[in-house]
């Protein structure tokens, strides 16, 4: 099919980020916030005890986690050419040390991940159905359920061997001021992270940054002692230290200085499911939101910002330039190309020096992964760091180099991951070639990634992730990218990679893709309104089959709106079978909605939870009626769009609990 005649080439020479995406649930933002530096947290038992007194049973990680999701203020990053750029929306991810490890040859674990995501989104949808109030919805923004789906899909990037995004860039080693022998404790913690059975697998590079934190208990410990200890730490461990002063008592809601801790946006689906199940099982509801003191929040925010801007990012930049000089630039020159050729003809060298890259193939064959010292592993880390630091050109060129390497070594997981990231980097970065050739290159990369993930490795998670992310970015590129995006979406649907919820969400997405294509001229030639309407109808059908009538109604409304935009008469009304089908869908919807609506007539003036989902977050914080279990936003804690994307579980007035009884909570 010919490429679009009227589709321009928007973004020629512009990076996708420049075109401006302000909504936090926009897929591009989600992508940028998920491929971020992962920082592990490893605290001593006394730190966990201190934090436990504040009400956080998960340790220091639980306290710090929401603050990593948006670093306060601007973050300046220097790319490989030395040019500095500042970003407003930098984020990191705090993880528990050693969590989420995926062995190099997993069997069906990736399918579990997708199934869990489906279940989470399905639960949210079910609650939405149950709490349907017959209200109108504004459907301009990205559907919150789709954003939720993407978020959960991207939130638990496993600590795998074939991609190093989840490998910790830094490790926070924390002790508290209550510790008896602090320096000793720090040494012990360090040793535990590097040797012993808690350490990370052998394919993770052990040379990440160690950041030492002394958590000072404001209320019980002596500040002069802590300062002295902190100076000692600085002398021993260098500049990567911080003194974090927090209060050890639990903040209650009634304290005047307390603010609610925002729910983390980036929970893994397993965690969220456990959360939901736990709260379902509880008889009397206790508000799960924690509160912390405003001073604590400020201290933590400052700590995170300082750590990221003064330690983590400079370390990453240093590593990038080091690895670039040592390994990658050798490969890029003319001699580099001959090196990869000669590698194929050398027989299993045991030499692992960085000069002769003859070690890769032997290492991979024997062990199923690349050791962290091999050039391939170093280059992969380099590429991932560059991606996290938003240096798209460097990332893309490194991934490109890696693609051929992995293909020659037949390291299929690595090959798939490298192709996927190369395509994504290529889509984001400013491009000078015409959209035609670029799309061909991207298609080729995606094809290889999809084939490797799906057929060679049977990695459902990988296959879904690479196509969905590429689809989103292609859509943002516009023009003929939109047709390509839909083509990939149809691939996913045909291959039946996703469950029913994902299927329906994807169909909605196809409709939105087509709707975003604007045509030229007075008749909007080149637009895809009829196609968009058709996909809306298909998605409505998919929702109705699963008894999600609220969603189905929304899709049908979208379809009608789209048909009304056409210059001709009402869309498919003249086609007999088609309009019968639409009428049939409508009847089914009315049927489904009426059944649910009947018992709820007494609360017809309930709060508008549905439109609130998409309303700007500021107004939600002013809402005095605190709906139970809605996602919370702390004003000023920089939650940044947190509530929008995690849909409320049961938006009901606390006063009506008794009436609701068992059926209220699904």
């Amino acid at each position: 099919m010919a490429g679009s005649v009227f589709g321009g080439a928007p973004g020629l020479g512009k990076s996708l980020l420049d075109s401006g995406t302000d909504s936090p649930s926009d897929p591009l933002n989600l992508i940028l916030k998920s491929f971020v530096p992962h920082i592990s947290i490893y605290g001593s038992p006394d730190v966990d005890e201190l934090v436990g007194e504040k009400g956080f049973r998960g340790g220091l990680w639980e306290l710090l986690r929401p603050f990593g999701e948006r670093i306060q203020g601007k973050v300046t990053i220097r790319d490989s050419n030395g040019a500095a750029r500042s970003w407003e929306d930098f984020a990191v991810r705090f993880t528990r040390f050693g969590e989420g490890v995926e062995e190099p040859s997993p069997t069906e674990k990736s399918a579990d991940a997708v199934v869990q995501v489906e279940r989470v989104v399905e639960r949210h949808l079910r609650y939405a159905e149950d709490s349907y109030m017959g209200l109108e919805e504004e459907a301009e923004a990205t559907s919150p359920y789709y954003a939720l789906y993407l978020r959960r899909l991207l939130s638990g990037i496993p600590l795998a061997s074939h991609e190093s995004f989840a490998h910790p860039v830094a490790c926070v080693i924390a002790i508290s001021s209550r510790c008896e022998a602090p320096i000793e404790a720090l040494r012990r913690l360090y040793a535990e992270t590097t040797q012993g059975d808690k350490k990370l697998p052998v394919w993770v590079d052990g040379e990440y940054l160690r950041y030492y934190v002394l958590v000072h208990d404001e209320e019980k410990s002596d500040i002069t002692k802590s300062m002295a200890l902190f100076d000692q730490m600085k002398r021993h461990f260098g500049l990567h230290c911080h003194l974090l002063r927090i209060r050890s008592s639990e903040a209650a809601e009634t304290d005047d200085d307390s603010i609610p801790l925002p729910r983390s946006d980036w929970m893994t689906p397993a965690e969220e499911l456990a959360d939901i199940e736990r709260s379902d099982r509880q008889e009397d509801f206790e508000d799960p939101t924690r509160h912390i003191f405003g001073s604590d929040a400020t201290a933590i925010r400052t700590f995170v910002r300082e750590m990221v801007t003064q330690s983590v990012i400079p370390t990453m930049e240093r590593n990038v330039s080091l690895w670039n000089d040592q390994v990658a630039s050798r490969r890029r020159g003319l001699s580099g190309r001959f090196m990869s050729l000669s590698k194929r003809f050398t027989f299993g060298g045991s030499s692992r020096s960085s000069i002769t890259p003859g070690s890769g193939s032997t290492n991979y064959d024997a062990l199923g992964f690349y050791r962290p010292e091999t050039p391939e592993a170093i280059m992969r880390r380099l590429a991932d760091f560059a991606f996290m630091l938003r240096d798209w050109k460097l990332a893309m060129s490194t991934y490109d180099l890696l693609r051929t390497d992995f293909q020659n070594d037949k390291a299929w997981r690595y090959h798939a991951a490298a192709n996927e990231m190369a395509a994504l980097a290529l889509l984001i970065m400013p491009q000078n070639m015409s959209s035609k050739t670029r799309i061909e290159t991207i298609n080729q990369m995606l094809e290889q990634a999809f084939y490797s993930y799906h057929t060679r490795c049977s990695s459902l998670y990988g296959a879904i992730r690479c196509t969905i992310l590429a689809l989103e970015l292609l859509r943002l590129r516009g023009g003929s990218g939109i047709d390509e995006a839909v083509r990939w979406g149809i691939r996913v649907l045909e291959a039946r990679l996703m469950g029913p919820v994902g299927d329906a969400l994807l169909r909605e997405r196809m409709a939105i893709c087509y709707a975003s294509k604007s045509g030229a001229g007075s008749q909007a030639w080149g637009s895809r309104r009829r196609k968009s309407a058709m996909w809306s109808v298909l998605s409505a059908e998919a929702w109705i089959v699963q008894a999600k009538y609220v969603q189905g109604q929304r899709c049908l409304k979208d379809a009608r709106k789209m048909y009304a935009l056409l210059p001709g008469e009402c869309g498919v009304q003249k086609f007999g079978v088609a309009s019968d089908f639409l009428a049939h869908l409508n009847d089914q919807l009315k049927e489904g909605l009426r059944v649910e609506y009947a018992p709820r007539e007494d609360e017809s003036d309930e709060e508008e939870e549905e439109p609130e989902l998409l309303v700007d977050e500021e107004s939600e914080t002013l809402d005095a009626r605190k709906a139970r279990r809605t996602s919370l936003i702390a004003p000023g804690a920089g939650g940044g769009g947190a509530a929008l994307e995690t849909a409320p579980l049961t938006p009901m007035k606390p006063g009506l609990e008794e009436e609701k009884g068992p059926d209220g909570f699904g």
Binding site: M1, A2, S4, V5, F6, I490, L493, E494, G519, Q523, W525, G526, S527, R528, R529, R530, K531, A533, M534, V537, L538, L566, G568, E569, G571, V572, K574, F575, G576, V577, A578, D580, F581
Partner: protein
């Protein structure tokens, strides 16, 4: 090897619809659309009008060849001077549903994008076009009216049997 042929007027309204199957190689001329997806045919054709509107300005030909693909369905188009579109949706059945036509994989029905198919579809369209012109020359026919002439229908059926 099922076909769904429609003539669409200038207001997205269907002037003529006809569903049939292949008559070649032992086919009985009956369409084999599955009951669950049959209603989609009209949606697919209607939505491919978007592509028609885009592609029609790029070429001076009346026959636009295969312009769209939706899962397993291919849509070809022929546009007349009066902006009336002939759309043909063909769905090759790759299951064991066909009586034997699927055995020969180079047949027209199984290969919707091969040059032979394009040629066959072109001939089909041309013959329908001639009959269409005759039908609309009737003084009782106004623009965008449905074509109810039984002779036209018979001619279309015959063309389908002959070429597809």
């Amino acid at each position: 090897m099922s076909y769904y042929f429609a003539v669409i007027g200038t207001q997205d309204n269907p002037l003529f619809e006809y569903e049939f199957g292949t008559s070649k190689q032992g086919g009985d001329g009956q369409s084999r659309f599955s009951a669950e997806t049959r209603h989609l045919n009209q949606f697919i054709l209607h939505s491919s009008l978007d592509i028609v509107e885009e592609v029609q300005w790029t070429t001076g030909q009346l026959y636009l060849k295969a312009i769209d693909k939706f899962f397993n369905n291919y849509v070809s188009c022929f546009i007349t001077g009066g902006n009336v579109k002939f759309l043909l949706l063909h769905q090759p059945l790759n299951t064991a549903g066909g009586t034997g036509a699927t055995r020969n994989s180079t047949s027209i029905a199984a290969n919707p994008t091969s040059p032979q198919t394009e040629e066959a579809v072109k001939n089909f369209f041309t013959e329908v076009y001639e009959n269409y012109v005759k039908a609309i020359m009737s003084p009782f026919y106004n623009t965008n009216m449905e074509i109810k002439s039984p002779v036209f229908r018979a001619r279309v059926v015959a063309a389908g049997r002959k070429y597809l």
